[in-house]
């Protein structure tokens, strides 16, 4: 890696040099004749040609190099001595890499020290190769671009074409990220469904990954039924949190837009925004440390002996508070979108403000508000830290808000933060849960946006 970053620096230096040469040559030309493009464009043209292809080469080489290094190490005598079992071998290789890079002095496995020099020499060899190719490419492309500079040469359009390509590439990253999420989740989920049947995952009523058999045992039959998780997620995020957030958020929006004086509004709105900006880990800590004991004591005092200190109610309450600003601003937007004429008409008929709001504004704004609530639900069920810290781990199918339920996000964190191997059914199950979560939130968002859009068109 070290020599590759050296090559990176070298490529950048070549590009700078090419740019400077192009610039000064064009400036000399300008002393004699009139140029099509400013000298700075001639410089940028040569510099971009020198830099971009070589940088792309390096970027493509870096992941390839780690494959090549692994292959050459495995084909060496020390490499052949490694255990054939993939997980163990990868662990030793990782240790060897750490030793080779000087991040560690020794590994748990004695073989990792033996392969470390192999790794180091292979890395040096391939990095030298890749680095040299990139530097040569930079020099060649830079020289070619430099030779084209002449008074008539349209350097500016050339530069602008490169910039255009970069702009397009930047916006493509959004698509690539979406594809990356979908593909990586689907790929790992498929591997999970090879170990565990899809139908049992979707419709199973029992979730107990702790009893899952190891991945290397054929036909593992741990309990990965997702129904209790889905119920817990829905119970906390879509029921309890919304019971708190919808009335409070809606009434806040109504008060702030319809009743409050401008000075009061400008003072209160930032406070709601702060509520939205508090990190979720803070809410989680607050829910676990302050709210949960109060809820449990309250549950015990009204005679519910099963009241848990990790109750669904505590997590849902705090999540609801977190969602208030979101609902409030969505409701704010949709109320503001109702034409003023409808409001004026109602008031002119002698209705009071509250009657106008309840009988005219809210029904008219209802689709927008509903869309906002769906978006809020999608955000609530994807929320992680509050439920990780305040909700429990036991997957119960219960309607009792004082009991402990668990959610999809809690289980993803739980499954992935242990010390298990990456290929076990437990870790792969986390990706299947992630896929389910992704699809559910995607669906909710699409429906919500559709509702909001259709409603807007109605009044425009």
């Amino acid at each position: 890696m070290m020599s590759l970053s050296l090559a990176l620096v070298a490529v950048l230096a070549v590009a700078l040099a090419a740019g400077w040469l192009g610039f000064s040559r064009a400036r000399r030309l300008r002393a004699a004749t009139r140029l099509h493009s400013l000298p700075v464009y001639h410089g940028a043209y040569a510099g971009l040609w020198a830099a971009i292809p070589a940088l792309l080469l390096l970027a493509a080489w870096a992941p390839m190099q780690s494959r090549l290094v692994e292959q050459s190490v495995l084909s060496s005598p020390e490499g052949r001595a490694l255990p054939a079992f993939d997980m163990q071998r990868q662990a030793i290789l990782a240790e060897g890499r750490a030793i080779a890079h000087g991040e560690r002095d020794q590994g748990f496995n004695s073989q990792s020290a033996a392969i470390a020099p192999r790794i180091r020499s292979a890395e040096q060899k391939y990095a030298m190769l890749g680095g040299l190719v990139a530097i040569i490419a930079a020099i060649a492309a830079g020289a070619l671009a430099f030779r084209r500079s002449s008074p008539e040469f349209r350097a500016r359009t050339g530069v602008e074409r490169w910039v255009m390509i970069m702009l397009f590439a930047a916006s493509l990253i959004a698509i690539l990220t979406t594809l990356g999420i979908l593909l990586s989740l689907m790929f790992e989920s498929l591997r999970f469904f090879r170990l565990y049947p899809v139908t049992s995952f979707l419709f199973g009523m029992e979730w107990s990954p702790q009893t899952a058999l190891r991945a290397d045992q054929a036909g593992s039959s741990g309990a990965f039924g997702s129904i209790p998780l889905m119920w817990g997620t829905f119970f906390i995020g879509a029921i309890i949190a919304m019971i708190v957030a919808v009335p409070l958020g809606l009434m806040s929006a109504i008060y702030l837009t319809q009743y409050a004086a401008p000075s009061v509004r400008s003072a209160l709105k930032p406070i709601l925004e702060i509520l939205a900006g508090v990190p979720t880990v803070v809410y989680g800590y607050f829910a676990a440390l302050t709210v949960a004991p109060v809820v449990r004591d309250f549950g015990l005092s009204i005679g519910i002996s099963s009241a848990s200190s990790e109750s669904a109610l505590a997590a849902g309450l705090v999540m609801g508070i977190m969602i208030i600003p979101f609902i409030s601003s969505m409701a704010d937007d949709s109320i503001a979108a109702v034409p003023q004429a409808m409001r004026d008409g109602s008031l002119a008929m002698g209705a009071t403000t509250s009657e106008t709001i309840r009988k005219v504004l809210l029904p008219a704004a209802l689709p927008g508000v509903m869309g906002g609530i769906l978006l809020a639900v999608s955000r609530a069920i994807g929320e992680t830290m509050i439920v990780v810290m305040a909700a429990g781990l036991s997957a119960n199918l219960t309607l009792n808000p004082f009991a402990s339920v668990t959610t999809v996000t809690t289980q993803i964190v739980q499954l992935l933060t242990g010390d298990q191997e990456f290929d076990s059914a437990k870790t792969l199950a986390a990706f299947a849960l992630g896929l389910a979560l992704f699809l559910i939130t995607l669906l909710l968002n699409l429906i919500a946006l559709q509702i909001v859009r259709r409603y807007r068109e109605q009044y425009e």
């Binding site: 990253i173 959004a174 989740l185 009434m251 406070i271 702060i274 403000t353 978006l375 993803i412 939130t441």
Partner: protein, 404 residues
């Protein structure tokens, strides 16, 4: 008629009152949240130190002050049993119950003192050293009887004082709550946010420029817009899964490194910056573009010489708000392994590190009572940073944003 009217007015009052109550609930909740964090956390910024005099002549410490003048001093001192020296001196001064009255970090402080002034080894020295978590809790609040009695003894001898806990700002994670600090986590957060910023800002701005100024109306553009809008609403933990599957397992990047955390958060922040950037670019009036085009600038020159500088304050505001969100984000970092116990602050973007929100999460999981105030104190630090960033964003908005 009059009766009905007054009933309607009463309903009006009630409705208005309900609205006010709803807003008040939010405000009160925020106030209560901040109050409870401050009440629990401010104690984390102060700690108690106790006086300890050590007679080095009576200890069985084999250290030659002369040998400590060389460059090897720190290593030489680290090889000795300073913990034993402290325990012995403490039991001699304050009784057998005082054997573990000093924090683990006291050893390091004593070692530093010796390296700095080797001459103290020749005689008696009196130092103020931080007390252990159990004594600290007893001094601040209530604890078990033994600790309470020890604190009373210390007070009688004027051997206990309250000071600002510099340790908390300078140290990193530790198993001993009296010696933990946020410095390592802050450094990890700094590196992570740096990577996020370096990746998300340029990409986000370029994408916003493309979509607003150049994109043709076609399927590609629609696909880009749809995926941007979706990415902005994808739960953050999904980005963590992406980082785990792609950056760690496919690209073989180091686990727990700020580089990977920063890349993951950059993917999450980029849509926010694109959306803010597009809104800012939209507000630049077309007359600016027309004027520049009219005097012969190319489309690219119009964008980069005129539109982008005018939109920059708006873009920066959006970027800072996006960064503040990334700063408080925990779940994706948990996924890519930035939750390991890391006692040494990271020195670069490839070292194992943790971030401040993750540190808060880790401390909140500790059973030791001493961690409660440290967690809340770390939350105060995090909230201060968020406040600072949002303040800068608001300042930028008010100072530079133009209304056309």
């Amino acid at each position: 008629m009059r009766k009905r009217l007054s009933r309607r007015y009463l309903a009006e009052h009630w409705f208005r009152g309900l609205g006010l109550a709803a807003v008040s609930v939010s405000v009160l909740f925020l106030a209560f949240l901040l109050y409870s964090m401050a009440a629990k956390g401010l104690g984390g910024f102060v700690h108690y130190e106790a006086r300890l005099s050590i007679d080095f002549a009576k200890t069985d410490l084999f250290l030659d002050p002369e040998a400590l003048r060389g460059p090897d001093a720190a290593r030489l001192v680290a090889g000795t049993d300073l913990g034993g020296v402290i325990t012995k001196a403490a039991t001699m001064a304050y009784g057998p119950k005082a054997s573990d009255m000093f924090s683990d970090s006291a050893v390091n402080l004593l070692a530093d003192a010796i390296v700095e002034q080797p001459d103290i080894l020749n005689g008696r020295v009196t130092l103020w050293l931080p007390v252990s978590s159990r004594v600290d809790i007893a001094a601040k609040d209530k604890s078990d009887d033994a600790s309470e009695r020890l604190v009373a003894t210390l007070y009688r001898q004027h051997a206990l004082k309250r000071t600002f806990n510099t340790q908390f700002l300078k140290a990193s994670d530790s198993t001993d709550p009296s010696g933990v600090g946020v410095w390592g986590a802050l450094k990890g957060t700094f590196f992570t946010i740096l990577v996020t910023m370096a990746l998300a800002f340029p990409v986000g701005v370029l994408a916003a420029v493309y979509l607003e100024e150049f994109a043709p109306r076609n399927r590609w553009t629609d696909a880009i817009e749809v995926s941007l809008n979706n990415l902005a609403a994808v739960p953050s933990i999904i980005f963590g899964l992406l980082g785990l599957a792609v950056f760690l397992n496919v690209m073989n990047l180091p686990r727990s490194a700020p580089l990977v955390g920063g890349m993951t958060l950059a993917l999450m922040t980029m849509p926010v910056i694109v959306i803010a950037g597009r809104n800012a670019i939209k507000t630049v009036p077309p007359s600016i573009r027309d004027a520049a085009l009219g005097i012969g600038a190319s489309k690219m020159q119009v964008t980069f010489h005129h539109v982008l500088p005018l939109a920059l304050p708006g873009i920066l505001t959006g970027t800072i708000i996006g960064m503040a969100r990334a700063l408080g984000e925990t779940a994706p970092l948990l996924m890519i392994g930035m939750r390991a116990f890391i006692a040494a602050p990271p020195s670069g973007i490839m070292n194992p590190a943790t971030a401040l929100p993750v540190q808060i999460f880790l401390w909140s999981d500790e059973v030791d009572r001493g961690f409660v105030e440290k967690t809340s104190a770390a939350i105060i630090v995090l909230l201060l940073f968020m406040l600072l960033m949002n303040g800068v964003a608001i300042y930028l908005r008010n100072r530079f944003e133009r209304r056309w």
